[in-house]
Subunit: 343 residues, 2 copies
């Protein structure tokens, strides 16, 4: 906070370089026609003055802010962080910048956040999930910009979708567990409608269990999201008190699954001998812990990348196509030692 004098503007640079402001403006755009020599002179003048372009003013004038608004449930989550990376990387080559906010898994908070973000006139907006408050949905519909719903496959999408079936992810795991001979299978977490994705995973669990004619009532609550490792551990403890003969547990996330694994270690329950454990999210921990935990990879980074791609397509395409596209990713089952009997 040294020099507190007013920041130089284009007019200042123009004066310094002996050209008109408009020429300075052109010199800073990669495309525009400017004599190579004058451009050099202008850039030098700008450098001398320590000029930094005001992209807010630029955006106001050109009606292109260069922002893409993104909302995620939590910043402290490796899965969403990967999606953000994919978005950022996919977008930055096109001069677009992510404007990020988090909702704390709260739809009212999402509404507040979306309202705030739209105020910045983003050129597109990416939201997590397909469930929103009515007002939020209305805002998104009327924003007049591309809207991408991710991490889910809404029945009634607002615009574009880049997601996967959370229910199917659970189904894959249940089928795998059954194939290893387990039938007394429990679900841990996903008990609140706040985390619609976790809720969907639990629904996928019960549905698949029922289809296979198995008992789908072993549902252990673990509280509102995000479920911590500790909550996963506590939930497993309660689970074993209630249904001591449980042979396998499907957890709403790898973090909960790891907590459950540690609880088994503390309780002296052999994994996978006595108990199989599976998670969700392909977090690094499930790959490296002992034993490694079976998980499902939803391809978080890809979700971000494909969303970015979609946005770029929509923004560059002049034809005002109303085709609401739907990109569905296939979750990948990662079978690991926590569910495999090596007998």
């Amino acid at each position: 906070m040294k020099s507190s004098r007013k920041a130089p503007t284009m007019a200042d640079v123009a004066r310094e370089a002996g050209v008109s402001p408009m020429t300075v403006s052109r010199a800073f755009k990669s495309d525009a026609y400017v004599n190579e020599e004058t451009r050099k002179a202008i850039l030098a003048a700008a450098e001398r003055l320590g000029y930094v372009m005001d992209s807010m003013a630029s955006g106001l004038s050109s009606r292109k802010t260069g922002f893409v608004a993104v909302t995620i449930p939590s910043v402290n989550n490796a899965n969403f962080a990967d999606t953000i990376r994919g978005l950022t990387e996919g977008l930055q080559n096109n001069g677009l910048q992510v404007l990020l906010g988090y909702t704390s898994y709260n739809l009212e908070e999402e509404e507040r956040l979306v309202r705030q973000l739209l105020t910045r006139r983003p050129e597109a907006i990416v939201v997590t999930g397909g469930k929103h408050t009515d007002k939020c949905r209305a805002m998104l519909e009327n924003a007049g910009i591309p809207v991408i719903e991710t991490w889910d496959i809404p029945n009634n999408p607002i615009d574009s979708v880049v997601g996967f079936s959370n229910a199917e992810a659970s189904a894959m795991i249940v089928q795998h567990l059954v194939s290893t001979g387990r039938t007394k299978i429990a679900f841990l977490g996903g008990d609140t409608s706040r985390d619609t994705r976790g809720f969907d995973r639990r629904r996928g669990f019960t549905r698949t269990m029922e289809q296979l004619g198995l008992d789908a009532t072993r549902l252990t609550e673990a509280g509102p999201p995000p479920i911590s490792m500790r909550e996963g551990a506590d939930a497993l403890s309660r689970l074993m008190q209630k249904w001591p003969d449980t042979e396998a547990v499907v957890c709403v996330s790898d973090l909960a699954a790891f907590g459950a694994l540690t609880e088994c270690q503390r309780l002296g329950i052999d994994v996978p001998g006595k108990m199989a454990i599976a998670g969700f999210g392909a977090y690094e921990i499930s790959d490296i812990c002992v034993p490694p935990i079976t998980s499902v990879d939803p391809h978080c980074y890809q979700i971000g990348m494909l969303s970015a791609q979609r946005i770029i397509d929509l923004l560059s395409d002049t034809t005002d196509e109303t085709t609401t596209s739907r990109t569905v990713l296939e979750p990948e089952l990662l079978i690991r030692a926590s569910t495999v009997l090596t007998s």
Copy 2:
């Protein structure tokens, strides 16, 4: 992307409500003097038109964008995520919004990012660490806004500092390990100057070891940051080949420490019997894994909160004080079973 017609402006709302644009502007500011009835009428009119304020235009005019720029090394890191949470929460009550970017632990990337962020005319900027490229430092110095350097205590700070001594964090751990009777202590990670904080932690290790007259040469490289759990595991494996009699290892982060712990489990090395393991960062995993891992809590959330507080103070304080303040947090040693011999 339904209604693609032009978004309503204040002028539209003013017309709809039968007042002047200026009155609409006032109606949207919480402080300004507006008749309660006219305000209601205006808000109703805005609602009817689906009006959303353009805070870019507002910022241009008022010279207050409401942005606070923040750079962190990585989004996918629970520690930095906590700092972001602290910042966001501390700032939002004052109508300030975090504009986030990540540098991938790369100073050139930081420079690029800072340049881009300054373009948005933030009212303050928060950066991680005290090491920057010369150009980046110059930009920060000339930005004319409060600059907060965090997560470190630079010798020559740009402006304000909210940090802690990474070297001291290591010192605390070394002293603790020595107090438990270990002398053959190694350090894992922090071998690259890219991660200045990790580097400082390693320096703190060697310095403390030397002060205690112990061998400070057992330094195991783990590659450029971020160090994954897997890299921690691999590094421990190499460490044991090179110095099989090592009794304790100080890891650059809890993630590396957990990786090391799992490797010990795979190698059949008893922790803490044969080997003590300590980490850094107070990640949840180190609290819940078996055995739990001794760590140091740098109070990440507090760093964010205090930075936010400092920014608010600086922005509200009209006196143009040049006092570069320095807030130093005390890391907290969390002694856990991974280093404690229960004999």
